[in-house]
């Protein structure tokens, strides 16, 4: 067993967002139910296959006429009543009761939620907005949801366009994000860590590139993060960054992106006020580093064809300056 786990880990399975490596109360409950159903399913498969093999290969008395007569029908009928009705019914009742218990257990968090996050799904990224925290300033970010570890957070799910589905396998099951319908769910991670989330409902061209991350911070770290996110963008301190801000201003960027603290307040694309604090860009498509940022600005359409982000034609120095500026937006 341990060796098998090591083998799986070596194949990279340890990195996957597995529903059977739960990191929060909802996912833990579901994983327990999942194991029950998986074990029952496996056992039923093995038993039926065993009966099948026995039925095919059992010893049979010698025989003459070529056709077995129907014989006493009570034998087969007993098989059907016991094996086809009674046994499955007992198993199903047990499984169904376990289902109802789990369903009740995950309906609400163990303790009341401490924060509310509004997640708006766009084709193909996630807008994240913190509300109801007594803050006088908005916190808006994208594709990265910070939560305090060990505390439950309410997530209100809104769609800006088509149906998406919000899923963090290690923390909870899916909730669809449906235009015209306000869905909500709750998230809780037991320990600090980074948990991968995905869009699970086919939503068009770039459904494959609509990931996000839930980052569970220790409560003090979370408070600090929130304070930093509340702040407006820092003004450029060096020449390169200042030039980058100018590029941002005069090029296509400002039409879609907001940088709070400047006069650029586009609402179409992700808020970039603290873009450099995020681990990835383009909804989990690329790691957030200088090279990828430059590549994304210049060439988004070949990295994520169909994305709302156009290729922005900038010459080398302008692009360098722009990326230098973006990297200051911690």
């Amino acid at each position: 067993m341990v060796a098998a786990m090591h083998a799986l880990a070596a194949m990279g399975w340890a990195q996957s967002p597995s529903m059977f490596r739960p990191a929060g109360p909802a996912a833990e409950q579901i994983a327990r139910l999942g194991w029950l159903f998986t074990i029952v399913a496996g056992a039923v498969t093995v038993i039926v296959t065993g009966v099948l093999v026995a039925a095919l290969y059992r010893r049979r008395p010698a025989h003459t006429s070529g056709i077995e007569p129907s014989g006493d029908p009570r034998g087969p009928v007993r098989w059907i009543i016991v094996g086809g009705v009674i046994l499955p019914a007992i198993i199903l009742v047990v499984c169904f009761v376990a289902t109802l218990i789990t369903q009740a257990a995950i309906a609400s968090p163990p303790r009341p939620t401490v924060a509310t996050v509004q997640v708006t799904a766009h084709r193909w990224w996630w807008e994240v907005r913190y509300t109801g925290m007594g803050a006088d300033q908005t916190v808006v970010t994208a594709n990265e949801i910070h939560v305090p570890a060990g505390r439950a957070v309410r997530v209100n799910l809104v769609s800006n366009d088509v149906i998406h589905s919000f899923w963090v396998p290690e923390l909870a099951g899916k909730t669809d994000v449906i235009p015209g319908q306000d869905n909500a769910m709750w998230l809780q991670a037991n320990r600090p860590g980074v948990y991968r989330g995905e869009c699970a409902e086919y939503c068009g061209l770039q459904h494959a590139h609509m990931d996000f991350f839930v980052v569970a911070d220790a409560p003090t770290d979370f408070a600090a993060w929130l304070a930093r996110q509340r702040a407006t963008a820092v003004a450029p301190t060096d020449a390169a960054a200042a030039a980058g801000l100018a590029v941002f201003h005069r090029s296509a960027c400002a039409a879609c992106h907001a940088i709070r603290g400047t006069d650029m307040l586009g609402r179409v694309g992700p808020d970039l006020t603290h873009v450099a604090s995020r681990q990835t860009i383009a909804a989990g498509t690329l790691l957030n580093n200088r090279g990828n940022l430059a590549g994304w600005v210049a060439n988004a359409q070949s990295l994520k064809p169909g994305s709302g982000m156009p290729n922005v034609p900038l010459d080398g120095p302008d692009l360098q300056a722009l990326v230098a500026y973006l990297e200051t937006l911690k």
Partner: protein
Amino acid sequence: MATVVAASDAPRAQLTEIWETPRGLLGTLTSVDHKTIGKRYLVTAIAFFIIGGLEAAVMRAQLVHSNMHLVSPEAYNQLFTMHGVTMIFLFASPVLSGFSNYLWPLMIGARDMAFPRVNALSYWTFLLAGIFLYSSFLVGQAPDGGWFAYVPMTARAYSPGLNIDFYTLGLIYLGMSTTIGAVNFIATFFTVRAPGMSLNRVPIILWGTLTVSFLIVFFMPSLTVASIFLYLDRTIGTHFFDPANGGHPLLWQHLFWIFGHPWVYIVVLPAMGLASDMIPTFCRRPLAGYTFVALATIATGVVGSGVWIHHMFATGLPPMAMSFFSGASMTVTIPSGVSIVAWLATMWYGRPVFKVPFLFMIGFIILFVIGGVNGVMTAPVPFDLQLTDTYFIVAHIHYVLLGINVFPVFGALYYWLPKMTGRMLSERLGRWVFWLMFIGMNLAFFPMHITGMLGMPRRIYTYPSGMGWDAANLISTVGAYVFAVGVLLFLVDLVRSLRVGPLAGNNPWDAPTLEWSTTSPPPPYNFAVLPTVRSRYPLWEDRLHDGATSIVDQGPVLDDGRETIGTSALDADPMAVIHMPADSAWPLLLALALTVVFYALLAVSWTWTAIGFLLVFICLAGWLSPSRIARAGGGT
């Protein structure tokens, strides 16, 4: 007239003249022979199976490794949509219609289906609807919204091309074909069974196809209505699904799945029926628990009509409502379990003979069990919230559709093709075909359970590295290609069989049912004399010693024209001699006229739509013109 004649004295030449379709193009296009139509259904459905398989082959190549760029996202989305549409609508159901069309009259001792011309119409509309859907590739705008086409992604605002118009209109058209076929099966079941073939004596495939025919009649309208709503939303700006104007996207999901879930049973129940009729032959004994299996078939259809919400557990419906559907979904296991245990009991109390069709039956039962239990895993709401829309579901549906549709179908091809062609397929190649398909299927789809549990969503055209999904995806791709080699080898075997296969004779498997009492292939009139049935297994009566005495070697000839015996619905007492229609070009012409209508609707040309409807009216008038009915001596 209906005088009793010995089969050896029947006027075969005269019967042939009455029933044979003339050779040549005109005969080909006008034939209403159920055997011709059945074979056409099979060939067309298998052609679509190969096309859908090629689409899958491209997808598996794209997914063999992370970050592959073999096809564009547009192409991938069209491929997986058309793979689903093709396999579900153009293969899985029509291939079973093919078997039912071919086999029903032979199994129930009739000369044709109740409505032979309607039967021809059903085929031509299926073929033309399939061509209509595939013509979307010619303009590079194949449907790309998934086979389920959720709004609003498929609304005009997010899908401006023709892609979804091909989808909605194609499904409306195909739904007509399916409904026409279903009505014909229902009528045939209740009117033209051989004298004495009471309800408790029909082969199980009839129960399967009858049940799904009712499901089609009840639930196909739901898909048709949904498709019409979406077409109207897209073309004339209605707001059925538009939340900004009082519509709701979930309306589409309800309408789609009210149809969509019963459809799963529509493509498996007749296949389970085929299995129930093949297994006794190879176990050398009657089916154990016939009544239970027949009732389980109907029960599956009834319970299966009330579980559609389990496709929508993540949409935020009230928990109490979902619990009921969760429980109902688990309940479907019981009738399925009854059927499986009946097959196991048949094997246990029988004396199995391991021929190729039986190998497919064994594989089918194992895959059915896996596809059943992994389905039960998705029934509990909480666990489904994790599993839904992942590769786990891809594994589940493929165990169900390959396991309970494709495996019985390939077993049935090995079993009944000798009846259709008169020549046997190869036992040796057949074993290779079975093992390649069985191993390939499990290699391809079992790992998907794991990738799904490891968090891989469905319908993604590529995936990042380092997620732990690469190894399993590589295995899946290898398995898919092994499966494809199995299918290819079957085609080789088929061609070889048609050329040099050993002659089958009337009854190569020593099987018990009526279709094996006539020649292989059967004559145009099926039976020289119409049989009288006294048991479920007319050809085994002498050895079962159960006192039944069906009569297959003498009976009425009915040689005054195309005629068959009409019998009562329950006990099949002879009631009337039914006149059957002659060959006719009207079914094809009507289907062509309908095709004009659908292309006109695609182009949103009301003028051409009107012209198309005029053509439809002309064809209907021609079809129903009294002079023709009088000349043909029959009705529809």
